[in-house]
Symmetry: C2
Subunit: 349 residues, 2 copies
């Protein structure tokens, strides 16, 4: 029998940030696909769309008017999943019935007044304006007494449930720490207690030494595919030195994050020459008023496309019931991503 | 301020089977939907399709011939994510790089020779044949030394990544206990240690007393929407008395499980008068050769549709990065499901 190797044989990988395991089935990329294909026919978009509720000067569903904003623009979500004005309530009945009211605030951030552009098509300066707004919101929302966690994220593409192509992201800020960051909180605390250093930066430094899964780096950040990546082209932007949250970031660091965000999304768009759908967001220190030396802010990207612009990875059946599973290895994804031109396919020669 | 109530106000619910929390935002059902709609135009299906690799007498991709089977039919997956014949290997390097080879066996089960039928359109007798085959496979696969967990599941509908409309399910059996059943293993063990009884049956008995989330019952099983259901119409089929796994089930119990499977899927199809997509599967005792008095077999259903036959719930952005979230409460889903006629919309008058 031939020797075991991670490029050909089924195996599990451990995610030290969450404690979860992942199933990797590298040989599975060979099966034929007869299933659903996504529609990626991109309609020619206009710079300003009068029917879009995110474009400058337009009226939103609740009757409010968007200003004639120039850079980025934030407003409270008219249909937020979390609201601040609910009464408190709690249910605790035996082992099976536990529930608790949850207050929060949901906001929408427009990345640009231009209806037809996306992050990889904006310049670093424009994206830096978005990062600055994130920081202001993290400070503003996180500063409120009843907000203990601020989740900043972007859903991109209709396949990711995004209902409007105008470039935008969201912020959901709330009382409790949600499941995913709570797992990381636990692992990062344990690591910090053991080593007196933060886990994310230590991991980044290890990956820089190995240089097998690094996509790019700039002065403050690296783009990499984590060893335990679940989605086909999952990636992470993480800092080289300790940065617990947006609150600590100076202008140069914000610009570096914007640059990394742009570099990664250009790679993505270039893979299948299509506006690459994903959900992305920032995990960072909770806003409970305490210091969090165990945390480093990092941005994670979960893109669903697998084989082409129209065939995505379905996380269903086995994945929902049993265990996340991927078909190509993290290392193969790195090879594909790194071989892409540095210029966006629409503007590069 | 009005009093808190679970029908109107945002809250979190606790899942005692896994230890996870869920975000419920009942008021959110009111937001308008401008996003992606699924294609549910059902092609008229034929009873036998010569291009289908699951139909009787047809040849599969690997050249093997399907027999002229009458009831259900099982074969080894030609593109299995898990295989038995890989060499062993392990990586353990510091805190960040842990991986291990994973052996397993993947099978496909055809539910019926008829290409054009689905579970809710089969009679109880035919579905009982499927349950009998599940039992045989659970015993056969689970009896192997290197198999410690057997995941039986069904992906239904192209929106759930199902690549062939011929009614079928899958079995992935493997060395390790996957993430989801491993969480339940922990909670069920803790409960059993504390009370000397199994958690699932105790929960079912509590729900029967309350009668707020019960969909139906027969002699051995109930169909219910768990208090902590995540997907819009998520449901569970669970036993009224202790049954650790399929291995323990007698003929009458298998027929009762088939009947429950049929009743629930008829309800589903009737909601939007469409073949209702879902991922479903059985969680049950691991096959490590030990007794598992803490376990009760139960079948879980995760259907994505939310508002109509074409608008599904997207578990993206916030849900992937932070916390599972639902818009309608479990109790509203029960009302919708229970108000459906008992006959399938295609055959009922
Ligand atoms: O095995 P199939 O039907 O080809 O594939 C489907 O089910 C599998 C198990 O849930 C998933 O891993 C795949 O992403 C999905 O497309
Ligand atoms: O808020 P939106 O864009 O209307 O909705 C989208 O993002 C939300 C947050 O990730 C999800 O809960 C919704 O399922 C999705 O459709």
């Amino acid at each position: 029998m031939s020797d075991f190797n991670f490029e050909d044989h089924s195996h599990r990988r451990y995610n030290p940030f969450t404690g979860d395991w992942l199933q990797v089935s590298p040989h599975r990329g060979k099966r034929p696909w007869q299933g659903q294909e996504e529609n990626t026919a991109e309609e020619k978009k206009v710079a300003y769309d009068e029917a879009c509720y995110l474009c400058p000067t337009n009226t939103r569903v609740n009757g409010e008017l968007n200003p004639d904003y120039q850079g980025s623009f934030v407003f409270q979500n008219d249909f937020g999943a979390l609201t601040a004005d609910i009464p408190e309530g709690e249910l605790s009945e035996g082992e099976f019935f536990k529930a608790k009211s949850e207050r929060g605030i949901c906001k929408v951030i427009c990345f640009s007044p231009r209806h037809d552009l996306t992050i990889p098509e904006l310049d670093v300066q424009a994206i830096t304006k978005v990062v600055e707004l994130w920081k202001a919101e993290y400070l503003g929302l996180g500063g409120k007494d009843f907000i203990n966690y601020v989740q900043i994220f972007e859903n991109k593409g209709s396949v990711m449930g995004c209902s409007n192509p105008h470039p935008h992201g969201q912020i959901w800020a709330q009382e409790s720490v949600p499941v995913e960051p709570a797992k990381k909180q636990q692992k990062f605390s344990q690591y910090f207690e053991k080593y007196g250093r933060s886990m994310v930066v230590d991991y980044v430094q290890e990956e820089l030494k190995k240089n097998e899964r690094i996509l790019f780096e700039n002065e403050y950040f690296v783009g990499l595919v984590p060893f335990w990546a679940v989605w086909p082209f999952e990636a992470m932007i993480a800092p080289k030195t300790h940065i617990a949250s947006l609150a600590e970031m100076d202008e140069a660091q914000m610009e570096a994050l914007a640059d990394a965000y742009r570099q990664l999304t250009i790679m993505y768009d270039n893979v299948f020459k299509v506006s690459f759908p994903y959900s992305a967001g920032i995990h960072q220190a909770m806003t409970d008023g305490k210091d969090h030396p165990e945390w480093d802010l990092h941005m994670v990207f979960y893109p669903p496309l697998l084989r082409s612009a129209t065939v995505k990875k379905f996380m269903v059946g086995y994945e929902m019931l049993a265990n996340p599973q991927r078909d190509i290895t993290a290392e193969s994804a790195v090879k594909i991503l790194k071989s892409q031109p540095k210029e966006h396919y629409k503007t590069g020669k």
